[in-house]
């Protein structure tokens, strides 16, 4: 019966209208039958119903829509169930295959299963919640139909409530699980144990939780006041209204942010100063900088780093993360709108590669940014020009301090004029088309590209030079280390000329090789040892920063550098720069994009780049991926597979090279020499990314969970890229399969890791001597149990296999402190396999698994 009604509603909304009409009539009849009502009241109630029917068709329409949605939900629920059943079967099949593969130690199969299961997702909590509500609705359809509109509203409220509960519970479970995995199933760290970054994450979450509680309390308190709760977000929370606990949490969060920023700064400073190479004159104690960036350059680079990387990390990213947590407190609709509005802002307005807006000039971009970053137009009366008072007000704000310090009256007026124009353009939508075109023209003139001064270009050049110097300094430092090592070994004279006169990257390479073969002539100016020794100056080369431990080049004797020498390196061939990016887990196309981005930064003038680089930059990234053999759309195994940590980049000769971390080999893909670069395709392993489409069920036990498959290879998965591109339209979308691939290592359960370690260690100890291990592993023979084997006295005549096993048992004991269980009256002694497995488990619990791996 219930199904029939739903089915009718779905196919014929008109019948719902009739149903509702009858319902209203019934209401009237019912009203008549209510004895306690006065005639006036009865008339009023009937009238109310009739009014509802006649005058409020939109409400009725809403009811139809809601009814249809309910039916949709129901159908979706059924579909979902069907899909889940299929997924369940697939999961079970995969889990069985996985278990089998583990038993058979079939690594290829395990890797294959891993790849196929990498796209597994968690179930959508909202779907689960909807299903629960729909189940209830179905049970009570008759009753619901009688009081249709009320029940629909109630059902929706309930859906929202249950969905929220389920989502919160689900998120908490997922978070707990992730925390456990992150911490290696250890107890949560105390404040002292947390790293600075972990502490920041912790404090951010605490603050967001506190904020949520504060909002909930406020809403509760305000609930008596009509609709006030809806205004809580919109109003600025006054200082005095903020409770102490929230202020404390905010302060703690801010402190953690500052601490993190300081850490970033200190690390960068250490890195930069570590690239400075000083020479100490033994006689005078004076230190001369002989390589790497100068103090001024370090200072300039630190300023840049602070303004960009640190600012981005601790201000921009932190604020965004916090907002993402805060927005979870918004009702569903507002939350969706917020995300949509941001998506439009970041993807359509400002990502020019995706934007449909043609920025003929930069006016709109600057107008929006100006508005938001300065609030400057907030002083402008609506649609009108700014008055003198407003300008004075603006000039007095903290915001304007920078302006007041450097801009005089005339320029302030210009700012005033420009901002007014930007404001009018941005806000005054009633302006005529002609006027609007004029406004845009004026703005274009003001914000024209060629009105930019060149100070930034200068900075950009300096910046590139600093980076180049840093690279050079690193090389020099490496070479210096090598040379000093050689010097200590009696080859003091070798290569000192090179060191004293600075080295180009090319020379550095030559010398790095030569340090392995010190007798080969370097091609540099020969060193006159006698003359140098006569100078009798003992110099000391030291790394300036952290000289207590990090500098490996201190207090070594260098005899050949004249006092006061400040070497000048040969001019850097900036047109041959080393460019390198890590292979992206998002695929070949993304990797190529990343490399292009880097090249764009390093070559402000691309015409100065080698022909191979220019050709690379001109080619569409997808085409490039195909040309290079990373992507073959015509093959079932269309995507290249490379280990995480592999790299792609141009070397100093303009060759495009892929470095495979698995094999340790470099393959040249584009030969940079000559004007016409030659392309060699990548011939490594390929795979079929279409197999990565299964979904996860978190109910599967860990030991059957296909998520836990162990291979660590990252796929250059071009399909994944496409998915990612779609996904990037919403930064809040569910992570796609490439994320799953990247994160899968951390998702491997400890049990799987333990079993893996056990299998690999046994394989290492006994290799193909299966029979030997079969006899040893479960043996209860008096001298072959673990407690006896661990105390076995190794002599010269001891068999190698026995030696290895005994040593390994002892190693397990050293790491874990566990002793093999000895025989008792009731229980037999622990066998070798039992002890090894137990000890590996213990090591895993201690977080020392790596120490027991062979």
């Amino acid at each position: 019966m219930a199904k029939d009604k739903f089915s009718k509603i779905k196919t014929d909304p008109e019948s719902l209208a009739k149903g509702l009409s009858n319902l209203i009539k019934a209401k009237l009849e019912n009203t008549e039958n209510i004895p306690d009502l006065t005639k006036k009241e009865k008339t009023y109630k009937a009238g109310e119903s009739v009014e509802w029917e006649i005058n409020k068709p939109t409400e009725r329409d809403d009811a139809f829509q809601k009814a249809e949605k309910i039916v949709d939900f129901k159908e979706e629920g059924e579909k979902e169930r069907e899909i889940n059943e299929k997924k369940e079967k697939e999961r079970k099949r995969l889990a069985n295959e996985f278990k089998k593969a583990l038993r058979n130690k079939d690594k290829e199969k395990i890797r294959d299963l891993y790849i196929r299961s990498a796209g597994i997702k968690e179930p959508d909590p909202f779907e689960l919640a909807k299903q629960r509500v729909l189940d209830n609705i179905e049970k009570n359809t008759e009753e619901n139909f009688k009081n249709f509109d009320e029940k629909i509203d109630a059902a929706y409220d309930r859906t929202e409530k249950v969905a929220k509960e389920v989502e919160e519970k689900f998120n908490k479970q997922i978070q707990d699980l992730k925390n456990k995995i992150d911490s290696g199933f250890k107890e949560p760290k105390t404040e002292k144990e947390r790293t600075i970054e972990e502490d920041l994450n912790h404090k951010r979450t605490e603050y967001a939780e506190g904020y949520k509680k504060f909002l909930a309390d406020r809403k509760k308190e305000a609930s008596w006041y009509l609709n006030l709760s809806r205004k809580i977000f919109g109003s600025k929370i006054k200082e005095e209204d903020t409770p102490k606990f929230l202020k404390d949490l905010e302060q703690e969060y801010e402190k953690a942010t500052i601490l993190f920023g300081k850490k970033m700064y200190a690390e960068k400073e250490e890195e930069l100063k570590g690239n400075q190479v000083y020479m100490k004159i033994a006689k005078t104690g004076e230190k001369n900088l002989i390589g790497g960036p100068s103090d001024e350059e370090v200072k300039a680079e630190l300023k840049r780093y602070k303004a960009n990387e640190i600012f981005t990390k601790i201000i921009i990213e932190e604020q965004s993360k916090l907002n993402a947590l805060k927005v979870e407190n918004l009702p569903v609709k507002e939350k969706a709108l917020w995300k949509k509005a941001l998506d439009l802002y970041s993807k359509q307005w400002f990502d020019e590669s995706k934007s449909k807006i043609k920025w003929k000039n930069r006016a709109a971009k600057i107008a929006v940014t100006t508005l938001l970053t300065t609030g400057i137009v907030a002083f402008a009366p609506s649609g009108a020009s700014l008055g003198a008072g407003a300008l004075a007000s603006y000039a007095g704000t903290k915001l304007a301090r920078g302006i007041a310090g450097s801009i005089t009256g005339q320029t302030a007026n210009q700012i005033f004029e420009y901002s007014t124009k930007a404001y009018n353009w941005l806000f005054n939508k009633k302006t005529s088309t002609e006027r609007r075109a004029e406004q845009e023209k004026e703005l274009a003139k003001i914000f024209a590209e060629d009105s930019f001064d060149t100070s930034f270009a200068k900075n950009k050049k300096e910046y590139s030079e600093i980076i180049e110097r840093e690279r050079k300094a690193k090389r020099e430092r490496l070479i210096t280390k090598s040379l000093i090592t050689l010097a200590a070994g009696g080859l003091a004279s070798y290569g000192m000329g090179s060191l004293a006169h600075g080295l180009s990257p090319e020379q550095a390479n030559i010398n790095e090789n030569l340090t392995q073969r010190p007798n080969i002539h370097t091609g540099n100016t020969p060193v006159n040892h006698e003359q140098l020794q006569n100078q009798n100056i003992q110099n000391e080369t030291i790394g300036k920063i952290n000289s207590n431990e990090t500098s490996a080049i201190k207090t070594e004797e260098i005899k050949n550098i004249p006092k006061g020498t400040t070497p000048e390196g040969p001019k850097i061939k900036t047109e041959f720069k080393i460019e390198e990016v890590k292979i992206s887990s998002k695929g070949a196309i993304q990797t190529i994009e990343n490399l292009k981005e880097k090249i764009r930064t390093d070559y402000p003038d691309i015409s100065k780049a080698p022909a191979s680089v220019q050709e690379f930059m001109r080619t569409n990234s997808t085409e490039e991926a195909i040309k290079l053999g990373f992507y073959n759309p015509n093959s079932p195994s269309e995507s290249a597979m490379l280990l995480k940590g592999s790299t792609l980049g141009f070397d100093e000769h303009g060759n495009l090279t892929v470095h495979d971390i698995k094999t340790g080999k470099d393959s040249i893909l584009i030969q940079g020499e000559g004007n016409k670069p030659r392309i060699e395709q990548y011939h490594g392993q390929m795979f079929d990314s279409d197999q990565n489409t299964h979904n996860i069920d978190n109910n599967i036990p860990d030991d059957q969970n296909p998520y836990a498959l162990p291979p660590q290879e990252d796929a250059l998965n071009n399909n994944a890229i496409e998915q990612n591109n779609i996904n990037t339209q919403s930064e809040y979308a569910v992570p796609q399969q490439e994320d799953a691939i990247v994160n899968s290592e951390s998702m491997i359960s400890p049990e799987i890791k333990i079993n893996q370690t056990y299998s690999e260690n046994i394989n290492y100890l006994f290799g193909d001597k299966n029979v030997l291990w079969e006899n040893l592993k479960d043996s209860h023979a008096p001298n072959l149990t673990a407690d006896k084997m661990i105390n076995y006295s190794i002599t010269d005549g001891t068999n190698e296999d026995t030696k290895k096993l005994v040593n390994y048992l002892n190693k397990l004991h050293e790491v874990t402190g566990l002793n093999p269980i000895e025989k008792t009256l009731i229980n037999p002694a622990e066998t070798n396999s039992e002890y090894i497995l137990r000890a590996i488990q213990k090591a895993s619990e201690m977080g020392e698994l790596d120490k027991v791996k062979l």
Binding site: F233, G234, K236, E254, T257, I258, K262, Y265, A300, R304, K306, A307, N308, I310, F311, I314, I315, I316, Q319, S320, N323, K326, L330, L337, K340, A341, L342, L344, W349, I357, A364, K365, V368, T369, L372, T373, T374, G375, V377, A378, S382, T397, K398, L399, R401, G402, I403, S406, T411, I415, Y418, L426, F427, N428, S451, D453, F456, N459, K460, Y463
Partner: protein, 101 residues
């Protein structure tokens, strides 16, 4: 560089960055302030305003359409922008001043 842009860069101490980087930072900064502004304005909208706003967003409205809409429908929109902008700068200044030299 135009005076407005130059001033923002000075306020945010971005003068040490190459122009492209400074612009990128400005855009990101704008995005964060926009996030904050939206957090405040979203719930002050009536349901109808929300629906209308959604329509503009679905049609991938231009910046001037969005801002004009917000100014028209959200009370004290400009004040909210100003408050959020200043709040952001004060907070930034407080944090960044304590880092490095």
């Amino acid at each position: 560089m135009n005076p407005i842009e130059k001033n923002i860069i000075e306020v945010l101490e971005l003068e040490n960055l190459p122009r492209e980087e400074a612009e990128e930072i400005l855009i990101r900064t704008g995005a964060v302030i926009y996030e904050n502004v939206l957090l405040r304005v979203m719930e002050t909208m009536t349901e109808k305003d929300q629906d209308d706003f959604e329509k503009i967003l679905d049609n991938e409205g231009k910046p001037e359409e969005i801002f004009s809409f917000l100014k028209e429908r959200v009370k004290d929109f400009e004040k909210i922008v100003k408050e959020e902008s200043e709040k952001f700068k004060n907070k930034t200044s407080n944090i960044m001043d304590q880092i490095g030299g």
